[in-house]
C-alpha cells in the first residue's frame, strides 16, 4: 500500500504542517485537545516512517523512495530526497523519539504549551529532511532550519543562563556550517551540480580535498560534538528543557555522524585517509579525557552531556579507523572495516535511546525537585522505587552492559579498532571502566542510601505516562541489545558500497 506514496515527503511535511496546525490552535482553547493533536501528528509520522523500513530493499545500496522535482532551476537545485541503509534507521529514530518527547512535555510545560509542541513537530520534520535530502542545498536548508526551533526551545523554555547557552549553541554550530556551505558552492562550480551523489563522483585534487574535508569537519565536529569543540553541549543541555535535551542528544548529535558518512568519507576519501589520525586522536581524547571530566560533574545533566560526548567518540572512531584497518597487513578481508562503520551506526541509534532515556529521567526528577545537583538528592529509591529500577537499568545500558543496546556498538568498534592498532582498542576499552564509574557513581549518590532530605521524602513515584515512556525506551534498548541483526541487516548493502567507494582514490 505504501509503495506508491511519496513517503519521504509525507514524513517531512506531516509534522511540519501538523506543527503549524498546533501552533494555530493557540493556548487560549483546550490545552488537552492541542496536546492530543500534537501526539496524533507524531504518531502518524512515526507510522509513515515505518513504511520506509517495511518497504526497504536490503539487497541494494541504491537510494530508495526517491523523489526528485525541480526547485531552483537556475542553480540546478532540486527537491531531491531518498534514503539508504544509513539514513533510514536514523529517520525512524527521529520519529520514534519525537513521540516520547511530546509525551514527556504533556502536563509539565505550562508556559505556551502549543508553541512548545509545535516547535518539536516542526523540528522533527526538518531533521527528517536533513537525513533524506540528496541535494546539498536542500540539505543545507534543513540543516540550518533545524537550529531555529532548537534555538527557540532553549531560549524560551530554558533555565537561568539560557541566553548565554542559546547564543553559544547557535554561534558554535553556525560558524561550523558556513564553511560547509562554502565547500558545497565550490563543488557546484567544479561539477555543476548540487546533488550529493554527483559530488561523491566528483574528481578532486588532494589540496581541494583537504580544504573541503576541513570545511566539513568544522560543521560536523561541532555537531557530534568532538573534543575540543564540545563545550557548547553541556551548556545547551543544562539550560534546555527536558524535551530539548532529549532531541539534542538523541538526534541532533547523530547528524554530525551522519554528515561524516554522507559527505566527508565519500566526497574526500583521500583527505579522510590522510587526516584519519587527527579524527582518531580527537575521538580517543573524547573517550578518555571526557570520561574523566564526566566523573567529577556535580550537575546530572552535565554529567550525561559529557557521557554523550564520550559515547559519540566511538562513532567517529569507528568511521575513521577503517583506513588503518585496511593498511594493517594482518587483515585480509573487509570484516574489520564493515564492523567499524556498522558499529558506529549502531552506537548512534543506541545512544539515541539511552541518552534520551537518561535525560528524560533527569527531567522526571527536575519536574519534582527543581534541581539537578547530585548533592540535593540521595536515597530516591526509598520514595521512588519503580523509577529507581528504571534508573539502574538505563545506567547499566549507558555503561555498555551486554544485552542492552549500549554494548553492541562499543563492542563492534572496539573489536574493529583492535584490527587497526592495539592501543586504539586499549584506549577505547577504558570506557568499560570510566563509563561504569561515572554512571554508577551518580546512581549511587542520587538513588541509593538513606533519604537525604525532606524534599526527597516528599517525592512521588512516576505516574502512568512517565512509566509508559520509560518502559518504551527500555524495550527498545533491550530489543536492540538482544537482537541487533534486523538493524544491522538493513545497513549491510549500503555500507559495503560506501567502503568500496571510499577505497578508490579520487586522485
Amino acid at each position: 500500500m505504501f509503495a506508491e506514496w511519496p513517503l519521504l515527503s509525507l514524513t517531512v511535511w506531516t509534522p511540519i504542517l501538523g506543527g503549524i496546525a498546533v501552533l494555530l490552535t493557540g493556548d487560549k482553547g483546550d490545552a488537552n485537545g492541542m496536546r492530543r493533536l500534537a501526539l496524533v501528528v507524531s504518531v502518524v509520522t512515526f507510522i509513515l516512517s515505518l513504511g520506509l523500513y517495511t518497504g526497504f530493499d536490503t539487497s541494494t545500496s541504491d537510494m530508495q523512495f526517491v523523489e526528485k522535482y525541480e526547485w531552483i532551476s537556475v542553480f540546478n537545485i532540486f527537491y531531491h530526497m531518498g534514503v539508504d541503509g544509513i539514513s533510514m534507521p536514523l529517520i525512524i529514530l527521529t520519529t520514534f523519539t519525537t513521540i516520547l518527547v511530546i509525551l514527556a512535555g504533556w502536563e509539565v510545560i505550562k508556559k505556551k504549551p502549543s508553541q512548545y509542541m509545535a516547535a518539536f513537530l516542526i523540528m522533527e520534520g526538518l531533521m527528517v529532511g536533513v537525513f533524506s535530502a540528496l541535494d546539498s542545498i536542500f540539505f543545507y536548508v534543513f540543516w540550518e532550519g533545524m537550529l531555529v526551533p532548537m534555538f527557540i526551545l532553549i531560549g524560551v523554555w530554558g533555565g537561568e543562563r539560557r541566553v548565554y547557552a542559546t547564543i553559544k549553541f547557535f554561534i558554535y554550530t553556525f560558524i561550523g556550517s558556513v564553511f560547509m556551505l562554502v565547500a558545497l558552492i565550490y563543488m557546484y562550480y567544479q561539477g555543476g551540480s548540487f546533488s550529493i551523489l554527483d559530488m561523491h563522483q566528483l574528481k578532486l585534487s588532494m589540496d581541494e580535498q583537504i580544504l573541503i574535508f576541513f570545511a566539513f569537519l568544522m560543521a560536523f565536529a561541532v555537531k557530534v560534538p568532538m573534543w575540543p569543540v564540545h563545550t557548547w553541549l553541556p551548556d545547551a543541555h543544562v539550560e534546555a528543557p527536558t524535551g530539548g535535551s532529549v532531541i539534542l542528544a538523541a538526534i541532533m548529535l547523530k547528524i554530525g555522524g551522519y554528515g561524516f558518512l554522507r559527505f566527508s568519507l565519500p566526497i574526500t576519501p583521500d583527505a579522510s585517509h590522510a587526516l584519519d589520525w587527527l579524527i582518531i586522536f580527537m575521538s580517543l581524547v573524547a573517550v578518555v579525557y571526557i570520561g574523566f571530566v564526566a566523573l567529577v560533574q556535580k550537575d546530572m545533566k552535565k554529567l550525561v552531556a559529557y557521557s554523550s560526548i564520550a559515547h559519540m567518540g566511538f562513532v567517529t572512531l569507528g568511521i575513521f579507523v577503517i583506513f588503518q584497518i585496511w593498511e594493517n597487513p594482518a587483515n585480509t578481508d573487509q570484516t574489520g572495516a564493515v564492523l567499524a562503520i556498522e558499529g558506529a551506526m549502531i552506537q548512534m541509534i543506541s545512544h539515541g535511546f539511552i541518552s534520551g532515556a537518561l535525560f528524560l529521567m533527569i527531567g522526571v526528577l527536575y519536574d519534582r525537585m527543581h534541581t539537578r545537583n547530585i548533592t540535593d538528592y540521595g536515597g530516591v529509591v526509598n520514595t521512588m522505587p519503580i523509577f529507581a529500577a528504571f534508573a539502574v537499568f538505563f545506567a547499566m545500558a549507558n555503561a555498555g552492559l551486554p544485552g542492552t543496546s549500549g554494548f553492541v556498538g562499543e563492542f563492534m568498534v572496539i573489536i574493529a579498532s583492535f584490527k587497526a592498532n592495539f592501543w586504539y582498542a586499549f584506549l577505547g576499552a577504558t570506557t568499560l571502566i570510566l563509563g561504569a564509574a561515572y554512571t554508577l557513581w551518580m546512581v549511587k549518590r542520587v538513588f541509593y542510601g538513606e533519604i537525604a532530605n525532606e524534599n526527597v521524602r516528599a517525592l512521588k513515584d512516576i505516574n502512568a505516562r512517565e512509566f509508559f515512556i520509560m518502559a518504551t525506551l527500555a524495550v527498545a534498548v533491550l530489543a536492540l541489545g538482544l537482537w541487533p541483526a534486523p538493524v544491522v541487516d538493513v545497513m549491510h548493502a549500503t555500507i559495503e558500497n560506501l567502503l568500496q567507494h571510499v577505497a578508490q582514490s579520487k586522485l
Partner: protein
C-alpha cells in the same frame, strides 16, 4: 536434547521474570514457589544432561540457538556447547542454587526489619531477592553453556550485574551500596582485559566460535604481534594473558581481589551462592575451557600460576586476623580460588575444576552455616561476641565441622582429594615459577587449617561471650536453614572420593580439556594413584596433612587452651605487631586503591575539567574570541562618535590623503 538444553536456563529465567515483575501479585509464597520450581527444573534437567553425557555416552553437543548478527561472515551467535565439563558445572550451579533458594526462605523471612520504616524500597523485597537469585542462575548457566566468546562475555557481565544488584540489595545501607559499586568497577577492570582478549581473538582467528578458535591454538603460538615500539609478543600469550585479566576480576585474584571481602555486605545466601560457590569460579571455568589456547603459552601459564600462588598464600594470612565471621570465610574463598588458579597454571585443569566442585559444596555449606549462626545471633557477625554455640545449635555445629574438615583437607573429606592433587600437581609441574607456587600452596595448608579452626573454636567452643538477651533467645534455626546445610554436608564428605578416579585420573573430561604432554603434571601424579584408599593412606603420611594438623593444633592452643595468647603475643613482640597491623589493613590495598585510583581519577577529572574545558577551551578560545570581537568592536565603535563635525573632519582628511596619493603615484 536441544529443547532440554534450552529449557535449563529458560526455566530459571522464567521464574526470575515472574517473581520480579509480578512479585506484588503473587506474594511471597508465590515468589519462592515459582522460583524454586524454575531452578528445580533446571537442576533436574541438568542431572538428566549429566546422565546423558557421563553415563549414557552422549556426544558433545555444539549448536547455535540463534544468530545475534552477522557481519561479513563473522558470526555473532548465541549457542550451546554441552560436554562433560559443561554438565558438571551446570549441575553444581543449579544444585547449589536450589539449596540456596530453599535456605533463603528462612534467611529472608524477616527481611522487612532490614529496611527503614519510611522506605518504600523494601516493598516486595523478599520476592525481588528470589527474582535476583534466579536471574543469577540463568546468567551463570548462559556463561557455562556458551559455545562462543560473545555469549561468554554476556554471561560474564550478566553475573556481574546480578552480583551488583545483590551486594547492594539493601540499597539504603551506605556500606552495601559502596561495596556493590566497588565490586562492579573492579570487575570492569578485569573485563577491560577480557574484551581486548576477545578482540585479539577476532583479529587473529576471524571467529568467535570456541571450536574454530581452538583449532587455531597451535597456529597462533607461532605468530607474533608488536605492542610496544619494537617488541614482538607471541599472539597466543597476549590473548591468554588478556583473557586471564578478566578471570582475575571475576575470580578475585590479586590485585583485583579487593571487591570480594566487601561483597559480604550482601545477604548471606548470595555470599554462599555467588561469592563462594559459583560466580567467583567463572574465571577458573573460563581458563579451563580455554585450555586449548593456554596450553600453547608457557608465559601465560606461568603468569597464572604466580598470581594464583600469591593469592592463595597472602589472602589466607588475612583470614587469620579477621573477626567478622563472614569475612573469615570470604578470605578463605579468596585463598581457595588462588589454589584453583595455581592448578590452572600447572596445567592441572581437571584438578582446578575438581577443586572448584568440592569447594562449591563445602564453601556454600560454611557460608550457610555462618548465616545460620548470624540468624541465631540476631545479625551479630563479630566472632568475639560468640562462643560455646555448640550446645545451642547442634546441626549447625556438626555441619560446620564437616565443612571445616573438608576445607582444611582432612583425609577422606572432599577437600582433601582436590587440594592434595593440586599440591602434587604443582610439585610435578615444569612451568616457570612452580617452586614458588609449591611453597605457597604448602604453606597455605597450615594457614587454612589455622584460620578455619580459629573460627570454629571461637564460634562454637570456649566461653559464651554474647550478651544476656541474645543468649536467652539462642536456638537452632528452622528446617529451611538446616535442611540445606545437611544437603550440602553430604557431598562435602563424599563427592571427592566418589569422583576422583574418573575426574582426575580417568577420562572424565575427554576432549573438553586439552593438556599437552610436556605439561601434564597430573599424569605424573596419576602414576602413583592406586585407588581412593591408597590416596588417603598416602595423604595421612604427607606434609600437607601434618601441616593441617599443626594448624588445627595451633588454633586450639591459642583460642581454647590459652585464649589470651594471641593478644599477648601481639602486645609483646613488635615484629608480630607489625605483621598484625599490615594484615588487619589488608596490605593497605584498599587504601592504595582509594587514594591512587579513586582519588587520582577524581583529581585528574577535576583538573581536566577546570583547566582544559573551563579555562582553556571555553575561557581562552570560545569566550576569548567573543571578547576579542567585543574588544575590537569597542575600538572601532569609538570612531563612530555620532558627531557631525568629527565625520566632516574625517572626510576632509580622507580626501586630502587620497589626493596626495594620486599626486604621487597617479602618474605611473
Amino acid at each position: 536434547m536441544e529443547t532440554l538444553y534450552l529449557a535449563i536456563p529458560l526455566a530459571s529465567l522464567l521464574g526470575a521474570i515472574i517473581a520480579g515483575f509480578f512479585g506484588g501479585q503473587i506474594g511471597r509464597k508465590g515468589a519462592h514457589t515459582v522460583t524454586i520450581l524454575g531452578v528445580g527444573t533446571s537442576f533436574v534437567l541438568s542431572l538428566v544432561a549429566l546422565n546423558h553425557h557421563v553415563f549414557a555416552g552422549g556426544e558433545t553437543y555444539n549448536e547455535t540457538v540463534y544468530t545475534w548478527m552477522v557481519v561479513e561472515g563473522l558470526r555473532f551467535e548465541v549457542g550451546f556447547l554441552i560436554d562433560r565439563l559443561t554438565v558438571m558445572m551446570m549441575s553444581v550451579v543449579t544444585g547449589v542454587s536450589l539449596a540456596v533458594h530453599v535456605y533463603t526462605i528462612g534467611y529472608m523471612a524477616d527481611d522487612e526489619h532490614n529496611w527503614p520504616k519510611d522506605s518504600k524500597a523494601g516493598k516486595n523485597s523478599y520476592q525481588r531477592f528470589f527474582s535476583y537469585i534466579s536471574l543469577f542462575t540463568f546468567s551463570m548457566l548462559m556463561l557455562v553453556m556458551a559455545n562462543n566468546f560473545l555469549q561468554l562475555f554476556f554471561g560474564w557481565e550478566a553475573v556481574g550485574l546480578v552480583s551488583y544488584l545483590l551486594i547492594g540489595f539493601w540499597t539504603v545501607r551506605p556500606t552495601a551500596v559502596y561495596a556493590n559499586m566497588k565490586a562492579f568497577l573492579v570487575n570492569r577492570v578485569g573485563d577491560f582485559g577480557f574484551i581486548l582478549g576477545i578482540a585479539a581473538i577476532v583479529m587473529y582467528t576471524g571467529s568467535l566460535d570456541y571450536q574454530e578458535v581452538f583449532l587455531q591454538g597451535e597456529a597462533l603460538s607461532t605468530q607474533t604481534m608488536s605492542i610496544f615500539m619494537n617488541t614482538e609478543w607471541s599472539v597466543v600469550s597476549v590473548i591468554c594473558i588478556l583473557l586471564f585479566v578478566g578471570a582475575m576480576g571475576k575470580s578475585a585474584q590479586v590485585p583485583l581481589h579487593v571487591w570480594l571481602p566487601d561483597s559480604m555486605e550482601g545477604p548471606t545466601p548470595i555470599s554462599a551462592l555467588i561469592h563462594a560457590a559459583t560466580m567467583v569460579t567463572a574465571g577458573i571455568f573460563m581458563v579451563t575451557r580455554m585450555s586449548p589456547l593456554f596450553e600453547f603459552s608457557d608465559a601465560a601459564l606461568s603468569f597464572v600460576m604466580v598470581i594464583g600462588a600469591i593469592t592463595a598464600f597472602s589472602m589466607g594470612l588475612i583470614g587469620i586476623v579477621q573477626n567478622d565471621i563472614k569475612r573469615v570465610v570470604a578470605y578463605s574463598t579468596l585463598s581457595q580460588l588462588g589454589y584453583m588458579t595455581v592448578a590452572l597454571g600447572a596445567s592441572a585443569y581437571s584438578a582446578a575444576v575438581y577443586h572448584l566442585m568440592t569447594h562449591a559444596f563445602f564453601k556454600a555449606l560454611l557460608f550457610l552455616a555462618a548465616g545460620s549462626v548470624i540468624i541465631a545471633m540476631h545479625h551479630e557477625q563479630d566472632m568475639r561476641k560468640m562462643g560455646g554455640l555448640k550446645k545451642y545449635m547442634p546441626i549447625t555445629y556438626w555441619t560446620s565441622l564437616i565443612g571445616s574438615l573438608a576445607l582444611i583437607g582432612f583425609p577422606g573429606f572432599s577437600g582433601f582429594f582436590s587440594k592434595d592433587s593440586i599440591i602434587e600437581a604443582v610439585h610435578n609441574s615444569t612451568i616457570p615459577g612452580h617452586s614458588i607456587a609449591y611453597a605457597a600452596v604448602l604453606g597455605g595448608v597450615f594457614i587454612t587449617a589455622f584460620y578455619s579452626f580459629r573460627m570454629f573454636f571461637m564460634v562454637f567452643h570456649g566461653e559464651e561471650r554474647m550478651d544476656k538477651h541474645t543468649k536467652e533467645h539462642l536456638h537452632e534455626t528452622s528446617w529451611v536453614v538446616t535442611g540445606p546445610l545437611i544437603a550440602l554436608a553430604i557431598p562435602s564428605v563424599m563427592i571427592g572420593a566418589m569422583t576422583i578416579s574418573s575426574m582426575l585420573f580417568g577420562d572424565y573430561f575427554g576432549t573438553a580439556v586439552f593438556v599437552r604432554e610436556s605439561h601434564d603434571a597430573l599424569a605424573k601424579v596419576g602414576e602413583n594413584f592406586h585407588g581412593v584408599w591408597g590416596f588417603v593412606e598416602h595423604g595421612v603420611f604427607s606434609w600437607p596433612f601434618l601441616l593441617a594438623m599443626a594448624g588445627v593444633l595451633t588454633a586450639w592452643i591459642m583460642y581454647i587452651k590459652q585464649p589470651g595468647m594471641a593478644a599477648a603475643m601481639v602486645n609483646k613482640y613488635s615484629l608480630i605487631r607489625f605483621f598484625h597491623k599490615v594484615l588487619e589493613n589488608k596490605y593497605y590495598a584498599d587504601d592504595f586503591n582509594d587514594a591512587a585510583f579513586g582519588g587520582g581519577s577524581r583529581g585528574l577529572g577535576k583538573r581536566l575539567w577546570k583547566y582544559g574545558d573551563i579555562a582553556f577551551i571555553d575561557g581562552l578560545l570560545v569566550n576569548g574570541s567573543a571578547k576579542f570581537v567585543g574588544w575590537f568592536s569597542g575600538i572601532t565603535r569609538k570612531i563612530q562618535t555620532g558627531l557631525l563635525y568629527h565625520y566632516a573632519f574625517a572626510m576632509i582628511i580622507g580626501v586630502l590623503l587620497l589626493m596626495t596619493f594620486f599626486v604621487i603615484f597617479g602618474n605611473n
